[in-house]
Subunit: 360 residues, 2 copies
């Protein structure tokens, strides 16, 4: 094929490397946005790609079966925390030729199987599974078929990488904060979990364990009070209704996720209770909703953006080298205190504060 | 191939039809969840699919190039309105073998081109494009390549179907409500738009026209007051800051979307203003956020779920018959009044109401 002018021939990564005067490994690094590609290298490779009209997504299918597609499976598209994770994934993949395609599996195990089968059937190059319910055995089968990063779920596997926040510590931060304010009747709303493996691996289960442990550590073991629903707005609403109906009303509610806290605030508003005057409320995730000024929710920042960046980086590394050892990344959470938590029984003081604050 | 026992042969739609004792058209109808498939027919076909282990997604690729994949492009994954539309799409596709894959294009024209190219490259069977910025010419080029339904954007095309809400009427409903309450200085926050075609087709632009028109119709033409930002929470925040800094402060703000109203409430809280005591606020979309009890936002219900159902139904019809004429579906909006709007200047009355209400 003399000097590559045959117009119908597809431009390959080899052409790009030759044109840029670099190795194909270097081109691959730039395409994957990997470490070790200098700005000069990136500029040279990008220029060669533009000049030759290289389209990896189309070309690669013919070459070695890559589709330059990454699937992200979410439990719930309404939970704003997952938007933070996606932002991180997209930030990391922004400079590459990978397209992210998202599917929601609605917190349902059969739906998860359907989604992961669909991603495998469509020859995706890698998948990021966020807080999957799928059994460990099936997760490992998926990971043996396609490069896989599991986000949010704990438990080490030899075949897939994980990125999670230290949920045990995070729950402890909330309990410590509320106990320091003087609360004793600190209740928790958890996502109901019965599967023995998931009880040791799912973020919701670890947060519930962290809550119990911290209550004991603060001498509040007798006040442990849990409502078991789901990590949704409606689950928060139902959980708060349950807690309010119990003989001893809590003075503080630690909702396992910000979206759960949203439902708690729905129920408290309906019951005519003020926050934090009557009840303090804390969440988990530090979503845009928690920062929303009229709500101003105390919460735990688990760095969703950073979780997404790490997940995408691990996945690209694994796509490049599927034989490297599995990696676990764990991020440290941070408490963010806002106006939704205050000392208990300070009804009068809290009401005064509230009347100075803008009200809705 | 005597009695179809050759184990390695792929099960086809013809096998399913024979096994169920129905036509292939009937099987296709059931797979597409189309009108005209009786419950009995559905049961027969489903049973045959289960017994034969028919997998359309795998089998079809070999047969006629279908991938049983539908792409949905969203402008912004954080806007809860799009979750309503997706719920409708999934409800309609739930009984079929189609997999929905979502991509966010971040309200950015080059990103939209990247996403739609990616969907076409991946041989998706159809695409649903929500409020795309892409030029009419390019939209029609996409629609000539892959069955396409455009959601939210007005303007008739001969090659793609559209589903939209009557945004002109919807904006008028908000202005009429606020005018009836006695407001004159009713301001609007719009998504900035300069492209001449988009000014006649985009939902944001139609809402702004509807606002101006309704202000004139209510004799409030002199009070037209617009802040031009974006349909995001941050856009609402900036828009409200602009409006508050003007010589004549509005007594009511009509935000072009609920997510914009969220940013408005951020800015008003920061400024120490109460809602509706100092300023009434209305949104558009009737998202879960508007129904959130502590906020209780007056808004326009444009039936996002129904929009999604219609979009998915039109798309499946078009996948089945690409020669049928293009169809435009327009849904009528409905005003939902809640606690965020009240009579103007009723500072004292509103404050009394607020002090009876739970406050955050």
């Amino acid at each position: 094929m003399p000097n590559g002018r045959a117009p119908a021939r597809r431009v390959t990564i080899i052409d790009v490397a030759k044109h840029a005067g670099v190795s194909t490994t270097a081109v691959s690094k730039v395409l994957r946005n990997a470490y070790g590609a200098s700005p000069e290298m990136q500029a040279k490779v990008r220029a060669a790609i533009d000049e030759l009209g290289y389209r990896p997504s189309a070309a690669a299918r013919g070459m070695r079966g890559q589709t330059y597609t990454i699937g992200v499976m979410l439990p719930d598209i309404r939970n704003p925390f997952f938007a933070d994770v996606l932002d991180g994934v997209n930030a990391q993949l922004g400079g590459t030729d990978y397209q992210v395609l998202i599917a929601s599996a609605c917190n349902d195990e059969p739906a998860e199987a359907h989604v992961t089968d669909a991603m495998i059937d469509r020859n995706m190059d890698g998948v990021i599974l966020i807080a999957p319910l799928t059994s460990r055995k099936r997760l490992e089968r998926i990971a043996r078929t396609v490069p896989t990063v599991v986000v949010g779920r704990h438990g080490n596997s030899a075949v897939y990488d994980t990125v999670a926040d230290d949920d045990f510590t995070g729950a402890g931060l909330v309990v410590a904060h509320l106990a320091e304010l003087g609360h004793q009747r600190i209740a928790h709303i958890e996502h109901d979990e019965t599967d023995p493996v998931r009880l040791t691996e799912m973020p919701n289960a670890i947060r519930a364990v962290g809550y119990r442990h911290a209550m004991q550590a603060h001498g509040l073991g007798d006040f442990v009070d849990i409502a078991s629903t789901t990590y949704t707005q409606h689950g928060g609403y139902l959980g708060a209704k349950q807690l309010l109906a119990r003989p001893q009303r809590p003075t503080a509610i630690f909702a396992g996720a910000d979206i759960v806290a949203m439902g708690v605030l729905d129920a408290l508003t309906e019951a005519g209770l003020s926050v934090p005057g009557d009840i303090s409320v804390a969440g988990y995730d530090n979503t845009t909703f928690a920062a929303f000024a009229p709500i101003s929710l105390t919460t735990v920042d688990q760095a969703g953006h950073q979780i997404g960046v790490n997940a995408a980086r691990l996945l690209l590394d694994r796509i490049a080298d599927d034989s490297r050892p599995a990696t676990q990344v764990k991020l440290s959470p941070r408490l963010v205190t806002r106006r939704s938590t205050a000392a208990p029984g300070g009804g009068a003081a809290a009401a005064r504060t509230a009347s100075q604050d803008p009200v809705l």
